[in-house]
């Protein structure tokens, strides 16, 4: 008999907000020394009251719109009670009765084609802290930086059949959310619980379901799904064990799942509406504003850049990261040429970042500064190589383009007269090469060109050097 896997996902995504969900502490769980991004409110001190961060609601609405969900017009926060040392109040504020989004869908594409995955709901909630176990002292330490960092949990329907589909879905969410500034989706900012069961192909009934909790890397998720599917198959087909509905933990080192204490699945979380947080009413105006403020999608940006004459490769590279698109758009609105702008971002900035071991997504430059450098080069104030040097100083020393050029006398190197002096010097010093060239050995040109570049310490503009060399050689023929 052939079996198929039935997989559902609960995906937690950390939202890219400046502050936490119910207080004004900085968001962004990854930042800061332990317990430095915490206040009396998110530490659960008595007397503090939660006040909803409106931005969280808007980003959740934005995620819902991207996933074709119905946006609830009435949504509430509820309290979920359980004791755990990383949970300061012993309750978590989440959404249980009236989640903000319901009934959506997203299309995922794998090598086997496109399939639609249903979204059951999206709800907002606060994250818990982090427990760090110190094996040396055998103590467990708590870091509250992450408590109350805003999350959305996207609950899919059990529509996945393969690990590939799950991967494609998560990649798609990641791209969409990063591009729409919903989440930075960095390491650990996207965590999944996976529900798995198997059934004979074509059957409508569901088998015994197990849940694998809290995985954050894509490769772990893939391996866990493959392992767990195989375990279920063995159990059903060969009777290796009796499956029970339970929560399991993935061990990435051992490459297998383990049953967690069953206590957890039996917990009664005693949900009830949080009386400190008034129900949120989402009216037409607010919903329209959130729709209007939705950043353009990858598809829209691609069409826009095509019309500006960029190549498919350039478009793909720019649209891989929201920051690159924002930078490109800023350069265009300050009057730079599209092709040039793309080239400066992708080739020049990209090259420098690579040299420093960084990736494109980490590019952080004020558009005015890059625009100024481009202006200086296109106006022949400095040559492109010098421009690259300025760019590196701007990126890694926080330099100002104008001040840097003046301080380093880079402007002179763009000056054709100065280059001409170098060309003449090289021609005078290497008469053999000049003779060869004039005698028809065109290869000798490279030696002369190289000589000039060496004299200019690599700062010469190749086009200028080439033009001057040809001009001066012609005079000597």
């Amino acid at each position: 008999m052939r079996y198929e896997a039935v997989i559902g996902l609960e995906t937690h995504v950390e939202l890219a907000t400046k502050s936490k969900i119910f207080c004004s502490c900085g968001g962004h769980s990854a930042k800061g020394e332990p317990n430095t991004r915490v206040c009396p409110a998110c530490a659960g001190m008595p007397g503090m009251l939660p006040v909803t961060n409106k931005r969280v609601v808007e980003l959740a609405m934005r995620a819902g719109l991207l996933l074709n969900c119905q946006i609830s017009r009435y949504t509430t926060f509820d309290k979920k009670s359980y004791y755990y040392p990383d949970l300061p109040c012993s309750y978590q504020i989440t959404q249980w009765f009236h989640p903000i989004c319901r009934e959506g869908s997203v299309e995922v594409t794998t090598k086997d084609g496109a399939r639609t995955i249903g979204i059951k709901q999206i709800h907002m909630e606060e994250d818990a802290g982090k427990l760090v176990h110190d094996d040396w002292t055998e103590t467990t330490l708590v870091d509250f930086n992450r408590t109350s960092v805003p999350l959305i949990e996207i609950v899919s329907k059990p529509d996945f059949r393969t690990a590939d589909e799950v991967m494609a879905y998560l990649e798609k969410l990641k791209t969409m959310f990063r591009f729409a500034n919903i989440s930075e989706c960095e390491e650990g900012a996207m965590r999944c619980d996976v529900n798995i069961s198997i059934r004979p192909e074509g059957s409508e009934e569901l088998g015994v379901r197990t849940e694998i909790k809290n995985m954050s890397s894509l490769s772990s998720i893939r391996r866990a799904i493959q392992y767990e599917t195989a375990r279920h198959l063995d159990a059903v087909e060969r009777g290796t064990e009796t499956l029970v509905q339970e929560t399991r933990r993935w061990d990435d080192v051992k490459g297998r799942t383990f049953s967690m204490r069953n206590k957890e699945t039996a917990a009664d979380y005693r949900y009830f509406p949080d009386p400190n947080l008034m129900p949120i009413l989402i009216g037409d105006d607010w919903l329209r504003r959130v729709k209007d403020e939705m950043p353009a999608s990858v598809e829209e940006k691609t069409a826009e850049y095509q019309s500006k004459g960029l190549s498919a490769k350039e478009i793909a590279s720019l649209t891989a990261e929201r920051v690159l698109c924002d930078l490109f758009d800023a350069l265009i609105s300050s009057g730079r040429e599209p092709k040039e702008a793309a080239s400066w971002i992708l080739t020049e900035c990209g090259g420098i970042l690579r040299k420093h071991g960084q990736v494109m997504g980490e590019l952080d430059i004020a558009p005015e500064k890059l625009s100024r450098i481009m202006e200086k080069v296109s106006g022949n104030e400095i040559n492109r190589a010098a421009g690259r040097k300025v760019l590196e100083a701007v990126l890694y020393e926080g330099a100002d383009p104008d001040e840097y050029c003046e301080a380093h006398d880079l402007s002179a190197q763009g000056d054709a007269d100065a280059v001409r002096q170098v060309v003449l010097k090289v021609l005078d010093n290497t008469p053999a090469a000049v003779r060869d060239y004039l005698g028809g050995k065109k290869k000798a040109f490279q030696a002369l060109f190289g000589g000039c570049m060496k004299e200019l310490k690599g700062n010469g503009d190749p086009q200028v050097i080439r033009a001057l060399l040809e001009e001066e050689l012609a005079k000597r023929s």
Partner: protein, 398 residues
């Protein structure tokens, strides 16, 4: 004489009950579980009082988390009147003139009861008018910080100082400040005596209501009898909500970060269980158990959810009465004297007494205690209730 948790600073100063945080003062809400707890910030209401020029006299004892009748089961000790009966600490101090007034949290009527017994006034303001920021939370959906003072005039002054929008409290109403001077003349007002609440009270408590009803008639107020058939359901509903919310809010006292920690534990579960077992008194534990039960999976819709619906119905039934009446008159407590009793009976005793006090907590309507009785008004009609209280004071002086 009422108990100060801290040293008294005499003068025209204001006492603050121990469920309200004052910076620099240990705040333990009458409970061992918060022993040694130094708040990181002061309550908004306290800060506002200080800004308005009032001096804080110190903190007064409350029953553990303000859950009992009159502070009889406080970790700081009970307060007894001259007759040996139970009294509220803040109310006794206000009655003796040791303090000009007090800020007290009202989550189940304790300060209203105390004011009635000590012969002072107390106003439990409309929900959302006084910030709960800095109040040790129990029953968030109905608890409010109120003002205790001998005279209606002092209550009005103190309430004006503390009321007003606070962005730190998500349930705070948007009005920046309140003027509690009400234009309506007492002689044009109508007051309804609530039959169910008055009939159930002891002879003494009923006599007080009748005396004040007569006094109001003497002032030209039209006094009639009204019926609130849902009064008993209101008590049950508030009891469910109070226990559920308190159970949840008290879950933060786990012995991990602050307050009392049992010295006796081998693992995290024992740390939780032993700290809470030793830190809470019997009444609090009963509230936690009851609250935990009404929120449990099988009981939520039959208990908690139904209580929310009853809240709405009680609100509607009261609102209908406010169409015709400026205030409802009823006892603030069922008896005129309470003797110390065993804590094992506390849960039942509190449930019985909350019959008289539950409606303002459940619905958010304001309530003013004066002359030993209670006046309940429509939302934001705190000023009108204070007018009536003032008139009664004047009438009594004559």
């Amino acid at each position: 004489m009422g108990q100060f948790v801290t040293e008294i600073r005499p003068g025209g100063a204001i006492a603050v009950d121990d469920t309200i945080q004052v910076k620099g003062y240990e705040t333990k809400a009458g409970s061992r579980i918060l022993e040694g707890f130094q708040p990181l910030f002061g309550a908004e209401a306290v800060e506002r009082l200080e800004k308005a020029g009032y001096e804080i006299a110190g903190k007064t004892a409350v029953g553990e988390f303000g859950l009992d009748l009159l502070g009889e089961f406080s970790h700081s000790g009970a307060t007894l009147g001259a007759s040996g009966g139970l009294r509220g600490a803040a109310a006794e101090l206000a009655a003796a003139g040791t303090v000009k007034g007090a800020l007290c949290a009202d989550l189940n009527g304790a300060p209203r009861r105390a004011a009635a017994l000590s012969g002072v006034g107390f106003v439990k303001p409309t929900y959302g008018t006084v910030s709960r920021y800095g109040l040790i939370p129990c029953a968030c959906s109905g608890e409010q910080i109120g003002v205790m003072a001998k005279s209606a005039g002092d209550m009005r002054g103190l309430l004006e100082a503390v009321a007003g929008h606070d962005p730190k409290d998500g349930t705070s109403l948007p009005t920046e400040s309140y003027d509690y001077a009400d234009g309506k003349a007492v002689s044009e007002m109508r007051v309804g005596v609530v039959k169910e609440l008055t009939d159930a009270a002891s002879d003494g408590a009923r006599a007080k209501v009748q005396a004040q009803a007569d006094a109001l008639r003497g002032l030209g107020v039209a006094v009639g009898e009204v019926s609130l058939p849902l009064a008993d359901a209101a008590r049950t509903a508030w009891n469910i909500l109070l226990c559920a919310e308190t159970c949840n809010n008290l879950s933060r006292y786990d012995g991990v970060k602050f307050g009392y920690r049992s010295p006796d534990y081998r693992n995290i579960d024992e740390l939780y269980v032993n700290s809470r077992t030793e830190g809470f008194n019997f009444l609090t534990k009963a509230v936690i158990l009851y609250g935990s039960d009404v929120l449990s999976k099988g009981r939520y819709f039959a208990c908690y959810d139904k209580a929310l619906k009853v809240r709405r119905l009680v609100w509607e039934q009261s609102k209908a009465l406010f169409e015709n009446y400026d205030a409802l008159l009823c006892p603030a407590c069922g008896k005129t004297e309470y003797q110390p009793y065993d804590i094992k009976e506390a849960f039942g005793a509190v449930f019985a007494e909350s019959f008289y006090t539950a409606i303002p907590n459940l619905t958010g309507f304001p309530s003013v205690v004066c002359g030993g009785v209670q006046l309940i008004g429509d939302a934001l009609q705190d000023g009108r209730l204070l007018n009536l209280a003032e008139a009664l004071e004047g009438g009594a002086a004559k």
